[in-house]
Protein backbone atom coordinates (compact mmCIF):
# COMPACT_ATOMS: atom_id res chain seq x y z
CA UNK A 1 0.00 0.00 0.00
CA UNK A 2 2.75 2.42 1.01
CA UNK A 3 4.73 1.39 -2.05
CA UNK A 4 1.77 2.22 -4.28
CA UNK A 5 1.48 5.69 -2.77
CA UNK A 6 5.15 6.64 -2.78
CA UNK A 7 6.30 4.88 -5.96
CA UNK A 8 5.61 7.87 -8.23
CA UNK A 9 8.05 10.00 -6.24
CA UNK A 10 10.95 7.78 -7.14
CA UNK A 11 10.13 7.73 -10.82
CA UNK A 12 12.85 9.40 -12.86
CA UNK A 13 11.54 12.35 -14.85
CA UNK A 14 11.32 11.59 -18.58
CA UNK A 15 14.06 13.03 -20.75
CA UNK A 16 12.11 13.38 -23.96
CA UNK A 17 12.85 16.09 -26.49
CA UNK A 18 9.65 17.91 -27.32
CA UNK A 19 9.17 19.98 -30.49
CA UNK A 20 7.87 23.45 -29.73
CA UNK A 21 7.81 24.94 -33.22
CA UNK A 22 9.65 25.66 -36.44
CA UNK A 23 12.71 27.80 -35.85
CA UNK A 24 11.63 30.31 -38.50
CA UNK A 25 8.50 31.03 -36.46
CA UNK A 26 10.60 32.85 -33.87
CA UNK A 27 12.15 36.29 -34.40
CA UNK A 28 15.71 36.97 -33.34
CA UNK A 29 15.80 39.06 -30.18
CA UNK A 30 12.20 38.30 -29.25
CA UNK A 31 10.95 36.42 -26.19
CA UNK A 32 7.64 34.61 -26.51
CA UNK A 33 5.55 32.22 -24.45
CA UNK A 34 5.35 28.73 -25.87
CA UNK A 35 3.27 25.81 -24.72
CA UNK A 36 4.96 22.49 -24.17
CA UNK A 37 2.80 19.41 -23.84
CA UNK A 38 3.90 16.37 -21.87
CA UNK A 39 4.25 13.68 -24.56
CA UNK A 40 3.16 10.91 -22.19
CA UNK A 41 0.81 12.36 -19.59
CA UNK A 42 -1.56 10.41 -17.40
CA UNK A 43 -4.74 9.92 -19.45
CA UNK A 44 -6.76 12.16 -17.14
CA UNK A 45 -4.22 15.02 -17.00
CA UNK A 46 -6.22 17.24 -19.36
CA UNK A 47 -4.89 20.80 -19.58
CA UNK A 48 -2.42 20.10 -16.79
CA UNK A 49 -0.31 18.17 -19.31
CA UNK A 50 0.67 21.58 -20.70
CA UNK A 51 3.46 23.79 -19.45
CA UNK A 52 4.31 27.37 -20.25
CA UNK A 53 7.89 28.23 -21.18
CA UNK A 54 9.50 31.53 -22.22
CA UNK A 55 11.53 31.03 -25.40
CA UNK A 56 14.05 33.62 -26.54
CA UNK A 57 15.74 33.49 -29.90
CA UNK A 58 19.20 34.92 -29.31
CA UNK A 59 20.64 34.45 -32.80
CA UNK A 60 20.12 32.46 -35.99
CA UNK A 61 20.79 29.13 -34.31
CA UNK A 62 20.71 29.93 -30.62
CA UNK A 63 17.66 29.75 -28.38
CA UNK A 64 17.13 29.98 -24.64
CA UNK A 65 14.14 28.27 -23.03
CA UNK A 66 13.42 29.78 -19.63
CA UNK A 67 11.26 28.12 -17.03
CA UNK A 68 8.25 30.33 -16.32
CA UNK A 69 8.64 29.63 -12.60
CA UNK A 70 10.09 32.41 -10.50
CA UNK A 71 13.03 30.99 -8.54
CA UNK A 72 11.68 32.65 -5.42
CA UNK A 73 8.47 30.69 -4.92
CA UNK A 74 7.54 29.33 -8.32
CA UNK A 75 4.92 31.85 -9.43
CA UNK A 76 4.66 32.35 -13.21
CA UNK A 77 6.84 35.25 -14.34
CA UNK A 78 5.58 37.50 -17.14
CA UNK A 79 7.62 38.96 -19.96
CA UNK A 80 7.32 42.71 -20.41
CA UNK A 81 8.31 43.30 -24.01
CA UNK A 82 8.80 47.06 -23.72
CA UNK A 83 10.78 46.84 -20.51
CA UNK A 84 12.89 43.87 -21.64
CA UNK A 85 12.27 42.31 -18.26
CA UNK A 86 10.56 39.35 -16.65
CA UNK A 87 8.42 40.26 -13.65
CA UNK A 88 6.83 38.04 -11.03
CA UNK A 89 3.33 38.96 -9.84
CA UNK A 90 3.69 37.39 -6.39
CA UNK A 91 6.56 39.11 -4.63
CA UNK A 92 7.92 41.38 -7.35
CA UNK A 93 10.95 39.41 -8.50
CA UNK A 94 12.48 40.94 -11.65
CA UNK A 95 14.83 39.31 -14.17
CA UNK A 96 16.74 40.68 -17.16
CA UNK A 97 16.16 39.23 -20.61
CA UNK A 98 18.97 36.70 -20.06
CA UNK A 99 17.24 35.44 -16.92
CA UNK A 100 19.64 37.02 -14.43
CA UNK A 101 18.08 38.50 -11.31
CA UNK A 102 17.47 42.25 -11.69
CA UNK A 103 15.60 42.98 -8.46
CA UNK A 104 13.50 41.49 -5.72
CA UNK A 105 13.74 38.31 -3.70
CA UNK A 106 14.64 35.59 -6.28
CA UNK A 107 17.76 33.75 -5.07
CA UNK A 108 18.72 32.40 -8.50
CA UNK A 109 18.44 33.28 -12.20
CA UNK A 110 15.55 31.83 -14.15
CA UNK A 111 16.01 28.12 -14.71
CA UNK A 112 16.93 27.16 -18.30
CA UNK A 113 15.78 24.03 -20.07
CA UNK A 114 17.96 22.24 -22.59
CA UNK A 115 17.01 23.42 -26.06
CA UNK A 116 18.25 22.49 -29.53
CA UNK A 117 17.44 23.04 -33.19
CA UNK A 118 17.01 19.85 -35.21
CA UNK A 119 15.78 19.70 -38.80
CA UNK A 120 14.52 23.27 -38.59
CA UNK A 121 12.53 22.53 -35.45
CA UNK A 122 13.14 23.98 -32.01
CA UNK A 123 13.10 21.22 -29.44
CA UNK A 124 13.48 21.26 -25.67
CA UNK A 125 13.71 18.76 -22.87
CA UNK A 126 10.41 18.13 -21.15
CA UNK A 127 9.45 20.94 -18.76
CA UNK A 128 9.63 20.08 -15.09
CA UNK A 129 9.02 22.48 -12.23
CA UNK A 130 12.51 23.47 -11.08
CA UNK A 131 12.78 23.48 -7.31
CA UNK A 132 15.10 26.14 -5.91
CA UNK A 133 16.58 24.20 -3.05
CA UNK A 134 18.22 27.13 -1.34
CA UNK A 135 17.81 28.23 2.23
Amino acid sequence: MVGFIVAPFFRKPPENWVTIGKSNEFQIGKTVAVTVTDPSPLPWAGVTAKSGVWLRRVSEDSFIAFSANCTHLGCPVRWLEGADLFMCPCHGGVYYRDGKVAAGPPPLPLFRYDVRVADGEVQMKQAIVPISTTL
Binding site: T48, R78, L85, S132
Partner: protein, 484 residues
Protein backbone atom coordinates in the same frame (compact mmCIF):
# COMPACT_ATOMS: atom_id res chain seq x y z
CA UNK B 1 -49.88 5.38 22.98
CA UNK B 2 -47.29 6.89 25.33
CA UNK B 3 -46.90 3.48 26.94
CA UNK B 4 -46.07 1.96 23.55
CA UNK B 5 -43.45 4.62 22.86
CA UNK B 6 -41.94 4.11 26.30
CA UNK B 7 -41.75 0.38 25.70
CA UNK B 8 -40.08 0.90 22.30
CA UNK B 9 -37.64 3.41 23.82
CA UNK B 10 -36.74 1.05 26.66
CA UNK B 11 -36.13 -1.77 24.20
CA UNK B 12 -33.96 0.39 21.92
CA UNK B 13 -32.10 1.91 24.87
CA UNK B 14 -31.41 -1.51 26.32
CA UNK B 15 -30.16 -2.94 23.02
CA UNK B 16 -28.27 0.14 21.73
CA UNK B 17 -27.17 1.77 24.98
CA UNK B 18 -28.40 5.21 23.90
CA UNK B 19 -28.56 6.56 27.47
CA UNK B 20 -24.95 5.59 28.04
CA UNK B 21 -24.01 7.20 24.75
CA UNK B 22 -25.58 10.56 25.55
CA UNK B 23 -24.76 10.52 29.25
CA UNK B 24 -21.61 12.65 28.76
CA UNK B 25 -23.90 15.50 27.72
CA UNK B 26 -25.45 15.32 31.20
CA UNK B 27 -22.15 15.53 33.08
CA UNK B 28 -21.83 18.07 35.82
CA UNK B 29 -19.87 21.20 34.94
CA UNK B 30 -19.02 24.42 36.77
CA UNK B 31 -22.03 26.71 36.68
CA UNK B 32 -19.91 29.77 35.87
CA UNK B 33 -18.89 28.32 32.50
CA UNK B 34 -20.93 30.75 30.41
CA UNK B 35 -20.58 32.63 27.13
CA UNK B 36 -16.78 32.38 26.97
CA UNK B 37 -17.12 28.61 26.70
CA UNK B 38 -19.09 28.39 23.46
CA UNK B 39 -16.22 28.48 20.93
CA UNK B 40 -15.42 24.77 21.15
CA UNK B 41 -19.01 23.82 20.32
CA UNK B 42 -19.04 26.39 17.52
CA UNK B 43 -15.87 24.86 16.05
CA UNK B 44 -17.40 21.40 16.19
CA UNK B 45 -20.56 22.73 14.56
CA UNK B 46 -18.52 24.25 11.71
CA UNK B 47 -16.71 20.93 11.29
CA UNK B 48 -20.04 19.11 11.00
CA UNK B 49 -21.15 21.63 8.36
CA UNK B 50 -17.91 20.94 6.49
CA UNK B 51 -18.43 17.19 6.60
CA UNK B 52 -22.06 17.43 5.46
CA UNK B 53 -21.44 20.00 2.69
CA UNK B 54 -18.25 18.21 1.62
CA UNK B 55 -20.07 14.89 1.24
CA UNK B 56 -22.78 16.63 -0.78
CA UNK B 57 -20.19 18.29 -3.04
CA UNK B 58 -18.50 14.94 -3.60
CA UNK B 59 -21.67 13.71 -5.28
CA UNK B 60 -20.79 15.89 -8.28
CA UNK B 61 -17.12 16.76 -7.94
CA UNK B 62 -14.76 14.64 -10.05
CA UNK B 63 -11.22 14.68 -8.61
CA UNK B 64 -9.55 14.50 -11.98
CA UNK B 65 -7.11 17.12 -13.25
CA UNK B 66 -8.98 17.24 -16.54
CA UNK B 67 -12.54 17.39 -15.23
CA UNK B 68 -12.56 18.99 -11.78
CA UNK B 69 -12.77 22.54 -13.19
CA UNK B 70 -15.74 21.64 -15.37
CA UNK B 71 -17.53 19.92 -12.49
CA UNK B 72 -16.98 22.99 -10.32
CA UNK B 73 -18.52 25.14 -13.03
CA UNK B 74 -21.42 22.70 -13.20
CA UNK B 75 -21.88 22.75 -9.43
CA UNK B 76 -21.71 26.55 -9.34
CA UNK B 77 -23.75 27.48 -12.39
CA UNK B 78 -26.03 24.57 -13.25
CA UNK B 79 -26.70 22.20 -10.36
CA UNK B 80 -29.66 23.16 -8.13
CA UNK B 81 -28.37 24.67 -4.87
CA UNK B 82 -24.80 24.04 -6.09
CA UNK B 83 -23.70 27.65 -5.69
CA UNK B 84 -25.19 27.72 -2.19
CA UNK B 85 -23.48 24.45 -1.31
CA UNK B 86 -20.07 25.68 -2.44
CA UNK B 87 -20.65 28.85 -0.43
CA UNK B 88 -21.64 26.80 2.60
CA UNK B 89 -18.41 24.80 2.36
CA UNK B 90 -16.27 27.92 1.92
CA UNK B 91 -17.84 29.98 4.73
CA UNK B 92 -18.00 26.87 6.91
CA UNK B 93 -14.23 26.58 6.53
CA UNK B 94 -13.80 30.26 7.33
CA UNK B 95 -16.01 29.91 10.41
CA UNK B 96 -14.08 26.87 11.56
CA UNK B 97 -10.76 28.73 11.33
CA UNK B 98 -12.19 31.73 13.19
CA UNK B 99 -13.87 29.65 15.89
CA UNK B 100 -10.87 27.42 16.53
CA UNK B 101 -8.74 30.57 16.82
CA UNK B 102 -11.18 32.10 19.30
CA UNK B 103 -11.38 28.81 21.24
CA UNK B 104 -7.60 28.65 21.48
CA UNK B 105 -7.28 32.29 22.59
CA UNK B 106 -9.98 31.82 25.27
CA UNK B 107 -8.38 28.61 26.54
CA UNK B 108 -5.00 30.32 26.69
CA UNK B 109 -6.25 33.45 28.43
CA UNK B 110 -8.23 31.41 30.98
CA UNK B 111 -5.18 29.25 31.66
CA UNK B 112 -7.36 26.21 30.94
CA UNK B 113 -4.39 24.39 29.42
CA UNK B 114 -2.82 23.94 32.86
CA UNK B 115 -2.95 20.82 35.02
CA UNK B 116 -4.67 18.43 34.41
CA UNK B 117 -5.73 19.53 30.92
CA UNK B 118 -2.33 19.68 29.21
CA UNK B 119 -3.17 16.99 26.68
CA UNK B 120 -6.56 18.51 25.95
CA UNK B 121 -4.68 21.63 24.82
CA UNK B 122 -2.13 19.60 22.85
CA UNK B 123 -4.80 17.69 20.93
CA UNK B 124 -6.49 21.03 20.25
CA UNK B 125 -3.28 22.44 18.76
CA UNK B 126 -3.04 19.37 16.52
CA UNK B 127 -6.63 20.03 15.43
CA UNK B 128 -5.69 23.64 14.61
CA UNK B 129 -2.88 22.38 12.36
CA UNK B 130 -5.21 19.87 10.68
CA UNK B 131 -7.82 22.59 10.17
CA UNK B 132 -5.29 24.82 8.39
CA UNK B 133 -4.19 21.80 6.36
CA UNK B 134 -7.81 21.22 5.37
CA UNK B 135 -8.11 24.89 4.44
CA UNK B 136 -5.06 24.77 2.18
CA UNK B 137 -5.92 21.46 0.50
CA UNK B 138 -9.50 22.65 0.11
CA UNK B 139 -8.34 25.74 -1.76
CA UNK B 140 -6.40 23.48 -4.13
CA UNK B 141 -9.49 21.38 -4.83
CA UNK B 142 -11.00 24.58 -6.24
CA UNK B 143 -9.00 23.43 -9.23
CA UNK B 144 -8.50 26.64 -11.19
CA UNK B 145 -5.43 28.57 -12.27
CA UNK B 146 -4.82 29.98 -8.78
CA UNK B 147 -5.06 26.49 -7.26
CA UNK B 148 -2.68 24.95 -9.78
CA UNK B 149 -0.06 27.66 -9.25
CA UNK B 150 -0.55 27.51 -5.47
CA UNK B 151 0.54 23.87 -5.65
CA UNK B 152 3.75 25.03 -7.32
CA UNK B 153 4.29 27.66 -4.63
CA UNK B 154 3.76 25.03 -1.92
CA UNK B 155 6.22 22.71 -3.66
CA UNK B 156 8.81 25.49 -3.88
CA UNK B 157 8.43 26.19 -0.18
CA UNK B 158 8.78 22.53 0.68
CA UNK B 159 11.82 22.42 -1.61
CA UNK B 160 13.69 24.68 0.81
CA UNK B 161 13.77 21.94 3.45
CA UNK B 162 17.37 20.67 3.62
CA UNK B 163 18.12 17.19 2.27
CA UNK B 164 14.56 16.08 1.62
CA UNK B 165 13.28 19.27 -0.03
CA UNK B 166 13.15 17.91 -3.58
CA UNK B 167 11.42 14.78 -2.40
CA UNK B 168 8.82 16.77 -0.46
CA UNK B 169 8.25 18.98 -3.51
CA UNK B 170 7.61 15.88 -5.63
CA UNK B 171 5.13 14.59 -3.07
CA UNK B 172 3.22 17.86 -3.32
CA UNK B 173 3.30 18.00 -7.11
CA UNK B 174 2.62 14.30 -7.50
CA UNK B 175 5.70 14.07 -9.72
CA UNK B 176 8.12 16.55 -11.27
CA UNK B 177 5.41 18.88 -12.57
CA UNK B 178 1.71 19.53 -12.25
CA UNK B 179 -0.23 16.79 -13.95
CA UNK B 180 -2.80 14.07 -13.60
CA UNK B 181 -1.49 12.87 -10.23
CA UNK B 182 -1.52 16.30 -8.54
CA UNK B 183 -5.20 16.80 -7.84
CA UNK B 184 -6.15 13.23 -6.97
CA UNK B 185 -3.52 13.18 -4.24
CA UNK B 186 -4.82 16.38 -2.66
CA UNK B 187 -8.35 15.05 -2.96
CA UNK B 188 -7.39 11.89 -1.06
CA UNK B 189 -5.67 13.98 1.63
CA UNK B 190 -8.54 16.48 1.92
CA UNK B 191 -11.40 14.00 1.85
CA UNK B 192 -10.01 10.88 3.52
CA UNK B 193 -6.68 11.33 5.28
CA UNK B 194 -7.12 14.61 7.16
CA UNK B 195 -10.82 14.17 8.04
CA UNK B 196 -10.07 10.65 9.30
CA UNK B 197 -7.31 11.96 11.53
CA UNK B 198 -9.53 14.84 12.64
CA UNK B 199 -12.37 12.52 13.63
CA UNK B 200 -9.92 10.60 15.80
CA UNK B 201 -8.50 13.75 17.37
CA UNK B 202 -11.91 15.32 17.95
CA UNK B 203 -12.95 12.10 19.69
CA UNK B 204 -9.80 12.19 21.81
CA UNK B 205 -10.26 15.89 22.55
CA UNK B 206 -13.87 15.37 23.69
CA UNK B 207 -12.88 12.33 25.73
CA UNK B 208 -10.27 14.44 27.51
CA UNK B 209 -12.83 17.19 28.13
CA UNK B 210 -15.06 14.56 29.74
CA UNK B 211 -12.20 12.99 31.68
CA UNK B 212 -10.86 16.19 33.21
CA UNK B 213 -14.07 18.21 33.16
CA UNK B 214 -14.78 21.64 31.80
CA UNK B 215 -12.39 24.04 33.46
CA UNK B 216 -13.91 26.46 35.91
CA UNK B 217 -13.46 30.17 35.17
CA UNK B 218 -10.19 31.37 36.68
CA UNK B 219 -10.11 33.33 39.91
CA UNK B 220 -7.25 35.71 40.61
CA UNK B 221 -5.20 34.59 43.58
CA UNK B 222 -6.30 30.97 43.26
CA UNK B 223 -3.42 29.23 41.51
CA UNK B 224 -3.45 25.68 40.18
CA UNK B 225 -1.65 23.29 42.49
CA UNK B 226 -1.43 19.79 40.94
CA UNK B 227 -1.39 18.26 44.40
CA UNK B 228 -4.80 19.65 45.39
CA UNK B 229 -6.49 20.71 42.16
CA UNK B 230 -8.53 17.57 41.47
CA UNK B 231 -10.01 17.49 44.99
CA UNK B 232 -10.84 21.20 44.79
CA UNK B 233 -12.48 20.76 41.39
CA UNK B 234 -14.61 17.84 42.63
CA UNK B 235 -15.61 19.90 45.63
CA UNK B 236 -16.62 22.79 43.36
CA UNK B 237 -18.78 20.51 41.22
CA UNK B 238 -20.49 19.04 44.28
CA UNK B 239 -21.11 22.47 45.69
CA UNK B 240 -22.31 24.41 42.67
CA UNK B 241 -22.02 22.24 39.55
CA UNK B 242 -24.88 21.93 37.08
CA UNK B 243 -25.65 19.39 34.33
CA UNK B 244 -24.10 20.49 31.06
CA UNK B 245 -27.38 19.68 29.33
CA UNK B 246 -29.57 21.66 29.49
CA UNK B 247 -28.41 24.13 32.16
CA UNK B 248 -25.21 25.20 30.43
CA UNK B 249 -25.53 23.91 26.88
CA UNK B 250 -28.31 26.29 25.85
CA UNK B 251 -25.72 28.99 25.22
CA UNK B 252 -23.87 26.62 22.87
CA UNK B 253 -27.14 25.95 21.09
CA UNK B 254 -27.80 29.68 20.67
CA UNK B 255 -24.31 30.41 19.34
CA UNK B 256 -24.10 27.42 17.01
CA UNK B 257 -27.57 28.19 15.64
CA UNK B 258 -26.47 31.77 15.01
CA UNK B 259 -23.29 30.49 13.36
CA UNK B 260 -25.22 28.17 11.04
CA UNK B 261 -27.55 31.03 10.07
CA UNK B 262 -24.61 33.38 9.44
CA UNK B 263 -22.83 30.80 7.25
CA UNK B 264 -26.02 30.08 5.32
CA UNK B 265 -26.72 33.80 4.78
CA UNK B 266 -23.16 34.40 3.54
CA UNK B 267 -23.41 31.38 1.24
CA UNK B 268 -26.73 32.56 -0.15
CA UNK B 269 -26.11 36.29 -0.52
CA UNK B 270 -22.34 36.51 -1.08
CA UNK B 271 -21.80 33.14 -2.73
CA UNK B 272 -18.66 31.06 -3.10
CA UNK B 273 -15.32 32.46 -4.28
CA UNK B 274 -15.32 32.89 -8.04
CA UNK B 275 -13.43 30.40 -10.13
CA UNK B 276 -10.31 31.72 -11.81
CA UNK B 277 -9.23 30.61 -15.29
CA UNK B 278 -8.79 26.87 -16.01
CA UNK B 279 -5.84 25.10 -14.31
CA UNK B 280 -3.73 25.27 -17.44
CA UNK B 281 -0.05 25.77 -16.45
CA UNK B 282 0.65 27.26 -19.88
CA UNK B 283 -1.50 30.28 -18.94
CA UNK B 284 1.21 32.46 -17.47
CA UNK B 285 -0.93 35.48 -16.60
CA UNK B 286 -1.75 34.00 -13.20
CA UNK B 287 -1.47 35.63 -9.82
CA UNK B 288 -1.76 32.94 -7.14
CA UNK B 289 -2.88 34.07 -3.70
CA UNK B 290 -3.84 31.95 -0.68
CA UNK B 291 -7.31 32.13 0.83
CA UNK B 292 -7.72 34.71 3.58
CA UNK B 293 -6.72 32.45 6.47
CA UNK B 294 -3.21 31.96 5.07
CA UNK B 295 -2.83 35.42 3.58
CA UNK B 296 -0.94 36.60 6.67
CA UNK B 297 1.75 33.97 6.01
CA UNK B 298 1.99 35.16 2.39
CA UNK B 299 2.50 38.67 3.80
CA UNK B 300 5.13 37.46 6.26
CA UNK B 301 7.18 35.78 3.54
CA UNK B 302 7.03 38.93 1.46
CA UNK B 303 8.19 41.29 4.19
CA UNK B 304 11.02 39.44 5.91
CA UNK B 305 14.59 40.08 4.72
CA UNK B 306 15.56 37.83 1.82
CA UNK B 307 18.66 36.46 3.54
CA UNK B 308 16.61 34.79 6.29
CA UNK B 309 13.57 33.98 4.19
CA UNK B 310 14.32 30.29 3.73
CA UNK B 311 14.89 29.78 7.44
CA UNK B 312 11.67 31.60 8.33
CA UNK B 313 9.73 29.69 5.68
CA UNK B 314 10.65 26.38 7.26
CA UNK B 315 11.46 27.32 10.82
CA UNK B 316 8.62 29.71 11.67
CA UNK B 317 5.71 27.23 11.40
CA UNK B 318 7.75 24.60 13.23
CA UNK B 319 8.72 27.06 15.98
CA UNK B 320 5.17 28.33 16.44
CA UNK B 321 3.84 24.76 16.46
CA UNK B 322 6.38 23.62 19.07
CA UNK B 323 5.78 26.69 21.25
CA UNK B 324 2.04 26.06 21.24
CA UNK B 325 2.44 22.34 21.89
CA UNK B 326 4.81 22.86 24.80
CA UNK B 327 3.03 25.77 26.49
CA UNK B 328 1.40 23.48 29.08
CA UNK B 329 4.67 21.65 29.70
CA UNK B 330 6.49 24.87 30.57
CA UNK B 331 3.60 26.41 32.43
CA UNK B 332 1.33 23.76 33.90
CA UNK B 333 0.59 25.25 37.30
CA UNK B 334 0.20 28.57 39.09
CA UNK B 335 -2.12 31.46 38.37
CA UNK B 336 -4.80 31.01 35.73
CA UNK B 337 -6.43 34.44 35.80
CA UNK B 338 -5.38 36.63 32.87
CA UNK B 339 -5.15 39.60 35.26
CA UNK B 340 -2.24 37.83 36.99
CA UNK B 341 -0.67 36.76 33.69
CA UNK B 342 -0.04 39.97 31.75
CA UNK B 343 2.37 38.13 29.45
CA UNK B 344 -0.58 35.94 28.33
CA UNK B 345 -2.67 39.00 27.42
CA UNK B 346 0.35 40.53 25.67
CA UNK B 347 0.96 37.30 23.71
CA UNK B 348 -2.62 37.10 22.46
CA UNK B 349 -2.73 40.82 21.60
CA UNK B 350 0.61 40.58 19.83
CA UNK B 351 -0.53 37.52 17.85
CA UNK B 352 -3.79 39.19 16.83
CA UNK B 353 -2.08 42.45 15.85
CA UNK B 354 0.69 40.64 13.99
CA UNK B 355 -1.66 38.35 12.07
CA UNK B 356 -4.03 41.25 11.39
CA UNK B 357 -1.27 43.54 10.13
CA UNK B 358 0.29 40.81 7.98
CA UNK B 359 -3.14 39.91 6.63
CA UNK B 360 -3.70 43.55 5.68
CA UNK B 361 -0.34 43.70 3.94
CA UNK B 362 -1.02 40.36 2.22
CA UNK B 363 -4.40 41.62 1.05
CA UNK B 364 -2.90 44.77 -0.48
CA UNK B 365 0.47 43.23 -1.36
CA UNK B 366 2.26 46.48 -2.18
CA UNK B 367 5.36 44.44 -3.09
CA UNK B 368 3.63 43.05 -6.19
CA UNK B 369 3.91 44.89 -9.51
CA UNK B 370 0.64 46.29 -10.86
CA UNK B 371 0.21 44.60 -14.23
CA UNK B 372 -3.11 46.34 -14.74
CA UNK B 373 -1.56 49.82 -14.79
CA UNK B 374 -3.00 51.81 -17.69
CA UNK B 375 -1.02 54.39 -19.71
CA UNK B 376 -0.97 57.80 -18.07
CA UNK B 377 -3.51 60.25 -19.42
CA UNK B 378 -2.47 63.47 -21.12
CA UNK B 379 -3.79 65.34 -18.09
CA UNK B 380 -1.45 63.47 -15.76
CA UNK B 381 1.49 63.67 -18.16
CA UNK B 382 0.88 67.38 -18.69
CA UNK B 383 1.89 67.41 -22.36
CA UNK B 384 0.53 66.23 -25.69
CA UNK B 385 3.77 66.36 -27.66
CA UNK B 386 7.50 66.59 -27.12
CA UNK B 387 9.88 64.78 -24.84
CA UNK B 388 7.71 65.06 -21.72
CA UNK B 389 4.84 63.39 -23.56
CA UNK B 390 7.21 60.75 -24.93
CA UNK B 391 8.64 60.19 -21.45
CA UNK B 392 5.14 59.69 -20.04
CA UNK B 393 4.48 57.05 -22.66
CA UNK B 394 7.79 55.32 -21.98
CA UNK B 395 7.10 55.39 -18.26
CA UNK B 396 4.24 53.00 -18.94
CA UNK B 397 5.78 50.98 -21.78
CA UNK B 398 9.05 50.33 -19.95
CA UNK B 399 7.20 48.92 -16.97
CA UNK B 400 8.10 51.81 -14.62
CA UNK B 401 4.42 52.33 -13.89
CA UNK B 402 4.06 48.72 -12.77
CA UNK B 403 6.07 49.57 -9.66
CA UNK B 404 5.83 53.35 -9.20
CA UNK B 405 2.82 55.48 -8.40
CA UNK B 406 2.20 58.76 -10.26
CA UNK B 407 -0.81 60.73 -9.05
CA UNK B 408 -2.64 57.60 -7.96
CA UNK B 409 -1.81 55.59 -11.09
CA UNK B 410 0.50 52.58 -11.12
CA UNK B 411 2.04 50.19 -8.62
CA UNK B 412 3.30 50.58 -5.09
CA UNK B 413 6.28 48.28 -5.17
CA UNK B 414 8.76 51.14 -5.52
CA UNK B 415 8.67 54.68 -4.15
CA UNK B 416 5.90 57.04 -5.30
CA UNK B 417 7.25 59.40 -7.96
CA UNK B 418 4.44 61.98 -8.09
CA UNK B 419 6.79 64.69 -6.72
CA UNK B 420 10.12 63.02 -7.43
CA UNK B 421 11.56 66.16 -9.05
CA UNK B 422 11.31 67.88 -5.66
CA UNK B 423 13.70 65.29 -4.26
CA UNK B 424 16.08 64.26 -7.02
CA UNK B 425 18.13 66.31 -9.45
CA UNK B 426 18.43 65.48 -13.11
CA UNK B 427 21.77 63.76 -12.51
CA UNK B 428 20.28 61.68 -9.70
CA UNK B 429 17.43 60.62 -11.95
CA UNK B 430 19.80 59.57 -14.70
CA UNK B 431 21.93 57.54 -12.28
CA UNK B 432 18.91 55.78 -10.82
CA UNK B 433 17.44 54.88 -14.20
CA UNK B 434 20.68 53.74 -15.80
CA UNK B 435 22.17 51.85 -12.86
CA UNK B 436 19.05 50.81 -11.01
CA UNK B 437 19.11 50.65 -7.25
CA UNK B 438 17.83 48.76 -4.31
CA UNK B 439 15.09 46.56 -5.67
CA UNK B 440 15.14 48.31 -9.07
CA UNK B 441 16.56 46.93 -12.32
CA UNK B 442 19.21 48.83 -14.26
CA UNK B 443 17.56 50.18 -17.39
CA UNK B 444 20.78 51.46 -18.99
CA UNK B 445 21.40 48.50 -21.30
CA UNK B 446 17.82 48.33 -22.55
CA UNK B 447 17.11 52.00 -23.26
CA UNK B 448 17.49 53.27 -26.81
CA UNK B 449 19.12 56.63 -27.56
CA UNK B 450 16.75 59.44 -26.64
CA UNK B 451 14.58 57.30 -24.36
CA UNK B 452 16.59 58.16 -21.25
CA UNK B 453 16.30 61.88 -21.99
CA UNK B 454 12.56 61.57 -22.53
CA UNK B 455 12.06 59.66 -19.29
CA UNK B 456 14.10 62.18 -17.34
CA UNK B 457 12.28 65.09 -18.99
CA UNK B 458 8.97 63.57 -17.89
CA UNK B 459 10.16 62.91 -14.34
CA UNK B 460 11.52 66.44 -14.02
CA UNK B 461 7.98 67.72 -14.41
CA UNK B 462 6.84 65.68 -11.39
CA UNK B 463 6.94 68.40 -8.78
CA UNK B 464 4.48 70.05 -6.46
CA UNK B 465 2.45 72.69 -8.28
CA UNK B 466 2.34 75.13 -5.34
CA UNK B 467 5.37 74.88 -3.07
CA UNK B 468 4.23 75.60 0.46
CA UNK B 469 7.43 75.44 2.50
CA UNK B 470 10.97 76.62 2.45
CA UNK B 471 12.27 73.09 2.10
CA UNK B 472 10.23 72.50 -1.04
CA UNK B 473 11.39 75.84 -2.45
CA UNK B 474 14.97 74.86 -1.82
CA UNK B 475 14.48 71.50 -3.51
CA UNK B 476 12.88 73.13 -6.52
CA UNK B 477 15.74 75.65 -6.72
CA UNK B 478 18.21 72.82 -6.58
CA UNK B 479 16.57 71.01 -9.49
CA UNK B 480 16.34 74.26 -11.41
CA UNK B 481 20.00 75.01 -10.84
CA UNK B 482 20.99 71.55 -12.00
CA UNK B 483 18.99 71.92 -15.16
CA UNK B 484 20.69 75.20 -15.98
Amino acid sequence: MIKIFKTIWKWLDDRLGISVLISPALHIAPQDAKWWYVFGSATLCAFIIQVASGVALAFSYIPSSSQAYETLQFITNVAPFGRFLRGLHYYGASAMVLMIGAHMAQTFLFGAYKFPREMTWTTGICLLAFTLGMGFTGQLLRWDSTAAWSVVVAAEQAGRVPLIGNWLAQIILGGTSIGGATLSRFFAIHVFVLPGIMFAFIGLHLWLVMRHGISEPPVAGKPVDPATYRAEYEELLKKSGKPFWPDLAWRDVVVTTGLVIAIALAAFFVGPPALDRPPDPSILAADPRPDWYLLWYFGLLSLIPERIEGYVMIGFPILIGLCLLFVPIWNHKGERAASRRPWAIASVCLAVIMIGALWWEGQHSPWSPNFEAQPLTEKVVGATTGSVFEGGRLFHDKGCLNCHLIQGNGGRRGPELTYIADKLTRDNLVIRIVNGGTNMPAYGPSLKPGELDALVAFLETRKRPFPTGAQTNNAASSVSATMK
